[in-house]
């Protein structure tokens, strides 16, 4: 009989895959023998059995990964945070140079007052973003406060506040002052437990105040 099944057809038949007609097999002894031969070979592969994991394997697998589920995003966030912090400090240093009493060249020198103002607003907005994230974490987590981040925000906020004060921009100053005091407390609190800090965030409406200033900055940015 001609038109025997190809090797590929035999493999598809063995694995019960669609796309091959099986009608020919009923009439062709040679193809039935070919299927039987292939079946013996492929069935023999089943002698290589994977070890059966112990009954607690699934629970153990979870136990092995769960610490990293918590840490991985935080670790990524820390890198992002560090990068933002470095960028903000550099930007602040440039801005501070612009307002320094000493006559020294600044990279802001060639910029229009409007552009300088915009850079300051972006820096302030970035600072508030990161402060807001830390406050949100403290408000929603029982983990110890990240004191290093609070300390960074203290230093950065102080520099920003001085710059804005020299520029005569008083609107966000009170907020920055309040935020700085809170961050100081967070950075130096013994044990840095979030309970008392969380109460302070709520009672002083810190997050709400930050969001109002951010909203004002966005509106200002759209105007410029």
């Amino acid at each position: 009989m001609t038109n025997h099944l190809s090797d590929e057809d035999l493999i598809l038949i063995y694995y019960n895959e669609p796309g091959v007609g099986r009608g020919h097999l009923a009439q062709c002894e040679e193809c039935r023998r070919a299927v039987a031969s292939l079946t013996r070979v492929l069935d023999s592969c089943n002698e290589w059995q994977a070890p059966e994991p112990h009954p607690e394997f699934a629970r153990g697998a979870w136990a092995r990964i769960v610490p990293y589920l918590e840490r991985a995003p935080r670790r990524q966030w820390r890198w992002l945070y560090a990068a933002c912090a470095v960028a903000a400090v550099l930007l602040l240093a440039f801005v501070a140079g612009r307002y320094s009493q000493r006559p020294q060249p600044s990279i802001m020198a060639g910029l229009s007052p409007q552009a300088q103002r915009r850079i300051l607003e972006i820096t302030l907005s970035d600072h508030l973003d990161r402060a807001e994230m830390l406050l949100t974490e403290i408000s929603n987590s029982d983990e110890p406060v990240d004191r290093a981040r609070a300390q960074d925000l203290v230093q950065e906020g102080r520099l920003l506040r001085q710059t804005l004060a020299r520029d005569g921009d008083s609107a966000p100053l009170a907020m920055l002052d309040e935020l700085e005091r809170f961050m100081l407390e967070a950075a130096n609190a013994p044990g840095a437990q979030p309970g008392a800090l969380r109460e302070r965030i709520a009672s002083d409406s810190l997050l709400f105040k930050i969001r109002i200033i951010e909203s004002n900055l966005r509106t200002e940015g759209q105007r410029l």
Binding site: Y15, C45, A50, F57, A61, W62, I65
Partner: protein, 194 residues
């Protein structure tokens, strides 16, 4: 939709929103199957357990990208296969750097196929297994993944193609080539045992 898949769907949706309890359900449901695939790819239990861990960590980070075109299990297989292939490539690179004669230490399949008795090796001491393992080791990466998924995990060719990101024809031919190579290695044993 199979009941397990239906259950997966709800857990996946919750896990996407960061619900770790939901993700735990998925890990506990699929970790054994992922382990089996990883074991067949790497050839030993410690490495397979590492691959399970790596697979589920990557899946957690990427669960937002799971589009449901394949089943969740198949999606995990894809991640596991890629992790395992990276592991095998790294082991091969290490093997290339070792002095001649030390290569067995870096070749998991050679370890399994070796004749020195140990509980694991004794369990794999049949002539078929002794021929099968080196033959599997000779397959290309694509052939090995496709064959292991098709033969041992029962994944259909269409789904293998989705999992591996290749055309169905390419997945099919990988399985065909793998079967033909294994057949050449095993048929002499089968003929002799008739």
């Amino acid at each position: 939709m199979e009941p397990a898949e239906k259950g997966d769907h709800a857990a996946i949706e919750r896990a996407r929103r960061g619900d770790r309890d939901a993700y735990r359900v998925l890990v506990e449901r699929h970790s054994r199957a992922v382990f089996r695939l990883a074991w067949r790819m790497t050839g030993n239990e410690p490495d397979a357990e590492d691959m399970v861990q790596e697979t589920f960590l990557k899946a957690w980070k990427q669960i937002g990208k799971f589009d449901g075109r394949a089943s969740f299990a198949t999606w995990l297989y894809r991640i596991c296969a890629n992790c395992s292939l990276d592991h095998i490539r790294a082991a091969k690179r290490k093997q290339d750097l070792l002095p001649a004669g030390d290569d067995e230490a870096a070749d998991p399949f050679a370890q399994l196929a070796a004749a020195t008795p140990s509980p694991e090796r004794l369990a794999l001491s049949s002539e078929i297994t002794a021929r099968l393992l080196p033959a599997l080791n000779e397959l290309s990466e694509m052939e090995r993944v496709a064959f292991v998924m098709r033969h041992y995990e029962g994944v259909g060719i269409e789904e293998i193609s989705v999992a591996l990101g290749v055309q169905p024809g390419a997945a099919k031919h990988s399985v065909f080539r793998a079967v033909q190579k294994l057949r050449r290695a095993l048929e002499p044993v089968m003929s002799a045992s008739k």
